[in-house]
Every structure is written in C-alpha cells, then in structure tokens.
Amino acid sequence: MVQTLRLVFSNRFYIVLSSVIFTFMLIGLLVISEYIFFEPYLIGHIPQGTEFGFVLIVILSVLPAVVFPMNIYRINILKKSKGKMSGSVFGSFIGSVAGACSCGPVGFTVITTFGSVGVTALTFLTNFELPIRIGAIALLAFTYYTTVKSLKIECNIRY
C-alpha cells in the first residue's frame, strides 16, 4: 500500500493535484456545512456536538485527494501501455488481463469518486447528512482499495 502511494506520489504533478483536490473539497464542504463563514468576517468554528461531522468532512476530503490522482496515474499508464502494445501480438492478451484485473473500469471509479463527492455536497439539507457522508467514505475507501490492488497486482508488475 505504501509502495503504491510512493509510486504515484513520487511525481510532483500528482502531489500538486492531490493538494488542490484536498483544499477545494475541504473548504467547499466546510463552507456548505457552516464550519467556515466568509461574511461578515472570515471565521471558522466547530460548534459543540458537530465534531463527528467535522471529522467525516476531513476524511471525505482526504480520500478523493488520494484516490483521484491514483486513477489519473492509472489512466496514464493504460494510455502508455496501449501505445506500446499497439500492433503487438500481446495486445489482446494484455487487454483481457487489464479488464480482468480491474484496470479497465477506470470510468466507473472516476464517476464514483465525483458522484459521492457531489452527493455529499448536496446532502446538507437532507435528513441523512451523516449517513450519506459515511456511505461516501465507504465508497471512496472501496475505490481506494481496488485502485491500490490493481496498481499493485497488474499495473505495477508491468512497469
């Protein structure tokens, strides 16, 4: 797991991407959930009884900041591998292996990453703010697990 993270975040581009995602997610969710106010003064506070919600927001900001750059990394690897393998007799074999090892459904991963974030951002008015945040975290954690697994088992072996 640590090796996979090192592999991705050894490149400065992914560190910057991760930082940007984390910052936007954190500030956005904290503003929506009224932990930060910009008017009349810039102020942040954690009201008593809302500490758990705050922790969930921090987790929810960290996970996409890790998962999304990892998936961009996967997309780049797939692109490179496609370029290298084009015309090769191993192309179809590698393609089928990629699908079997879940490097294929990158689109689904991206959708779930953004979808859960989008849903979470919109739930501040609903009754299920905390359960949906927990669900989104579970979904992102699962995405993280599958991403690490595929990078480790399939993509990592190839490179």
Partner: protein, 209 residues
C-alpha cells in the same frame, strides 16, 4: 374581474392578519409586527432579529452554542433586544410548529414554548417530533390550557401570521435559516447568515453600541 378578485383576497388577508395582531412594529427594514414579542429591553438601541425554523438543525446549534452568550452579554444587560421571526420552510411540520408557538403566546408562554421546541428538536426533519400531536404534548408539559391550545392549533388561527413572516424573510433576501438582522441605533443594519459563533455577534454588536 380577476383584478377585483385578487384585490378582495388581498384585502381579506390583510384584515385577518390585522385582527390577529394590530400593533405595527419595524426594526430597520424588517417588519417584525407578526414576529415574536420583544425579548429584553424594548427600548434597547439594538435589535437582533432571527429568522429561524424549529426543524432547522443549524438554528438548534445556534440556540445551544451561541444564544446564551449573546443574551448574557447584550440582551440581559439591556444593550440589545431580540425578536424571533419564522422562516418555516424546511418540512411540512415546520409551519405548524411556528403556529403552535403563537398559540402558546396566547397563553403568555411564547418563549417557554420556543425554548421547548429547540430543546426537543430531533435531527430528522418531519420524523414526527413536531407533528400536531407532539406539539400538543409540549403545550401540556408547559402547563398550558390544552383545550384552548388545541382549538387554536387545529383552527389554523396563525397560519397567515407565519406566512407573513416567511414572506417578510423572502422580501429581505433571507433564503436560509438561521439568518439574523442586527439593527443598530442609527438604522444601520447587518445581516448574518448561518449559525455563526459568538465572536461574530460580539464584534458587530460592539461596533453598534
């Protein structure tokens, strides 16, 4: 023809509101005539107007985390007074809860009932905690005349009053709860959106004193 009908409806609505509460009261640009009674010193130079919903969780947070400090330092000391207005829009039980508070007011227990609602609030909107039956239970627990309260609530006596408050909120651009308007002595007015901490209120109130 249609204009005449609309005029008649408007005239009827106005007259029925007036029969419920006749004194006209304004703080800055906020018409608080149909809001709560004034809490604190009526001649205080500053008025804090809160637009809230009894099912709003951020209003609950403000009530439990910030209100006591604001009251202790400004309302109880006579520097400011406080008026609550209804922006009851979050669920189907919200307008009924607001109406119930005015039925309690009929028996001189508006603020007790107001406090009771914000103490009993549950996190899920419209889960039944503020349905008419529970609203009557709250009234009973405060020792109100339950028959009077029931007839007031069931008749929809204060439906228009609550609707007026909601319209007033919209007119002032308050689209969420809680929204506060702090009106100073020279008519200066500051809007605070959300359950902001005490330090924000202190800074604004001190600048107006």
């Amino acid at each position: 023809m249609s204009i005449a009908i609309i005029s008649a409806i408007v005239a009827y609505s106005s007259s029925s509101i007036e029969t419920e509460k006749s004194d006209v009261r304004t703080h800055g640009t906020v018409s608080t005539t149909m809001g709560s009674s004034i809490m604190g010193n009526p001649s205080a130079s500053i008025t804090i107007v809160e637009f809230g919903d009894y099912q709003c969780h951020q209003c609950y947070n403000w009530f439990h985390n910030t209100k006591s400090s604001v009251f202790q330092n400004y309302v109880d000391t006579g520097k400011a007074n406080f008026v609550f207005m209804d922006l009851a829009f979050l669920g189907k039980d919200s307008p009924k809860a607001a109406q119930a508070s005015y039925c309690a007011e009929d028996q001189g227990k508006y603020w007790e009932y107001h406090n009771q609602l914000y103490t009993a609030q549950e996190s899920e909107i419209d889960n039944g905690w503020a349905n008419p039956e529970r609203l009557k239970v709250f009234a009973f627990s405060l020792g109100l005349d339950i028959e009077l309260f029931e007839s007031c609530l069931d008749s929809g006596k204060y439906t228009k009053r609550v609707q007026y408050n909601i319209a007033e909120a919209k007119k002032l651009g308050a689209s969420g709860t809680p929204t506060f308007f702090i009106v100073g002595p020279d008519g200066q007015q500051q809007k605070i959106v959300g359950a902001q901490p005490y330090s924000v209120f202190k800074q604004i109130l001190d600048s107006m004193i």
